[in-house]
């Protein structure tokens, strides 16, 4: 149904929630910064076209430094792109100022790789989930904390725990609970299972997959590891040096990868099989 590169031609009938056209992102190159004056800009993301249909999950993969996080941050308008456009639910947000962005901000949330540094160690789980809701003026906060914990499969009693009293997988589920409590439509998950052991990885991915179905979430899931993508993504985009080398339905990309770089990423995954070829 889709080309091996370029955005899918016919996003689902439900409509596109997040879309980018000819997106370029440049960042200051600190290594080349003169002693006085500004660092020159260096292009990190080149001509990205993408469409994420409402209720679908897009995987963004690539090696370290390929630009995955930079692309994700641009989609959430945490960075202003150098060129191209970004639309959220039909609204062009490419150049919106912070005031105009505010109503959109709650509708798109981010979950980070390292839950230990993104959760305040001095706040209890309940407060960690409540803080952003308070900031956005939510009511019934108490009930919403319980709902969020229920959704990620943590006991309500965990409200009174501190982050260091949780395992890595549990902390990551608190990060998810905090994001979904704001009832966002779009979530960007950046390497959220990379630091976890395999059983916690499986648990967190299952929770996330369940929430996509239950809450009708739209998700962009960033990972350097293709092996966790197939479980939850509908489509996958492979990035190399800031450009798309492959973009299509997840089964097609796994079963018949077109780009040499995609095959290289697949071959590098150590399968639990002593006989695996090319190792």
């Amino acid at each position: 149904m889709h080309d091996s590169s370029g955005a899918p031609k016919n996003p689902a009938a439900a409509g596109v929630l997040v879309s980018a056209k000819a997106l370029d992102v440049a960042l200051p190159d600190m290594a080349a910064k003169p002693v006085f004056g500004r660092a020159p800009l260096i292009r990190i993301i080149n001509g990205i076209d993408l469409d994420i249909a409402r209720g679908s999950v897009l995987g963004i993969v690539g090696g370290s430094g390929s630009g995955k996080s930079t692309l994700g941050r641009a989609l959430l308008r945490l960075i202003e792109p150098a060129a191209g456009t970004i639309e959220f639910d039909g609204l062009d947000i490419t150049r919106l100022g912070e005031d105009a962005l505010r109503p959109v901000r709650r509708r798109m949330q981010m979950i980070f790789q390292d839950p230990m540094s993104s959760l305040n160690p001095r706040r209890r789980v309940g407060a960690i989930i409540a803080d952003p809701m308070q900031m956005h003026g939510f009511d019934r906060i108490d009930g919403r904390i319980d709902d969020a914990l229920d959704h990620v499969g943590l006991p309500r009693g965990f409200r009174s725990r501190y982050p260091h009293e949780l395992s890595g997988g549990q902390r990551q589920r608190v990060g998810i609970a905090r994001a979904i409590a704001l009832e966002p439509e779009f979530i960007l998950a950046d390497e959220i299972v990379s630091g976890l052991d395999v059983s916690s990885q499986a648990q967190v991915l299952n929770v996330l997959a369940g929430l996509v179905g239950e809450l009708g979430l739209t998700l962009a899931f960033i990972s350097h590891d293709l092996s966790v993508i197939r479980r939850i993504c509908d489509q996958v985009m492979v990035l190399q040096r800031g450009s798309i080398v492959e973009y299509g339905d997840v089964d097609r990309v796994f079963d018949a990868p077109q780009a040499a770089y995609t095959r290289e990423l697949l071959d590098a995954i150590p399968l639990p099989d002593p006989q695996q070829a090319n190792w």
């Binding site: 370290s64 395999v198 991915l205 966790v228 479980r231 639990p272 099989d273």
Partner: protein, 292 residues
């Protein structure tokens, strides 16, 4: 072949609550052999590696059992002799390449210090050896890397430096604690091949700590599965991947991602399996307490 390292009935407790974190652990490793230690976070994998290398945190105390390294029982040695023996025969490839290197020192002394301080080499000899090793781990410009600070190197480069540094003094035993967990998959593949290559060339005995059964299948000959500081299964790699015998091992294998077989992969470990293995550990604890 003979066992280079034998650990017998090793138990360790937290000094505070006297809870066991290692529960009567026994295994041995021959020269040139790689043993994988697998288990979920907190199972005690790193603790075993630290016990062998004599670097347990002060909160942990060994209460019984033996660690025999190259024929000598570490528990009965004077601390200074023990340090010397471990320094001369064993080395660690640590979990986190960023915190394992001193950020404010250049790479050269971080590789050569062990050779100079523990083995009494001259600085010049140590430098030659370090350059040789950086070549062995396929670093293109070893002179430049020796003069660099850690933050000037990528994650993959830093991990190569640590591998070079671990093999510098020709150790007979290497403890590799999750040496590739922080790396992306293509770099991980290079580093695993490198470790396997060095280990085979130098016939090093190795303890390889990881939570990833995919990685175990690539570098180990045998593996032990840990739960709550207790070994629940010991097997050869071919036997294990043909079909693990313990229900908990089977669950770990089913949780391991396999893009070639998505339905049999990333299955969360069932609560009932956890309860059963926890009960098994508790029963063994009960028996152990009675026997004492």
């Amino acid at each position: 072949m003979s066992a280079f390292l034998t650990v017998g009935n090793l138990s360790a407790v937290l000094r505070g609550n006297r809870q066991r974190v290692l529960r009567s652990v026994s295994f041995s490793i021959d020269t040139g052999e790689v043993l994988g230690l697998v288990g979920e976070s907190g199972a005690g994998k790193s603790m075993i590696g630290k016990a062998i290398l004599g670097i347990l945190p002060s909160a942990i105390e060994i209460i019984e059992g033996e660690i025999v390294l190259d024929g000598q029982d570490l528990q009965t040695m004077l601390p200074a002799d023990r340090r010397r023996l471990i320094g001369a025969t064993a080395a660690l490839i640590p979990q986190d390449p960023l915190t394992a290197l001193n950020p404010s020192r250049r790479i050269e002394p971080q590789i050569t210090n062990r050779l100079v301080d523990i083995l009494g080499w001259s600085k010049a000899d140590a430098r030659v050896r370090a350059l040789e090793l950086l070549n062995e781990v396929h670093i293109d410009n070893p002179e430049r890397v020796m003069a660099s600070y850690p933050h000037e190197l990528s994650g993959g480069m830093r991990q190569r430096v640590l591998i070079a540094s671990a093999f510098a003094a020709n150790p007979k035993l290497v403890v590799a604690d999750e040496p590739t967990t922080a790396l992306d998959v293509t770099v991980q593949k290079q580093i695993l091949r490198l470790i396997r290559d060095l280990q085979q060339r130098h016939a090093t005995a190795m303890v390889f700590v990881t939570h990833d059964l995919g990685v175990v299948s690539k570098v180990c000959q045998r593996l032990s599965v840990l739960y709550g500081g207790k070994f629940v299964e010991n097997a050869s790699v071919p036997d294990f991947f043909a079909g693990p015998t313990h229900a908990y091992s089977r669950a770990l294998l089913a949780a391991t991602p396999k893009y070639t077989d998505p339905d049999a992969s990333l299955v969360p470990v069932d609560e009932a399996v956890i309860e059963a293995v926890a009960a098994e550990v508790a029963a063994a604890d009960e028996e152990w307490r009675h026997a004492r």
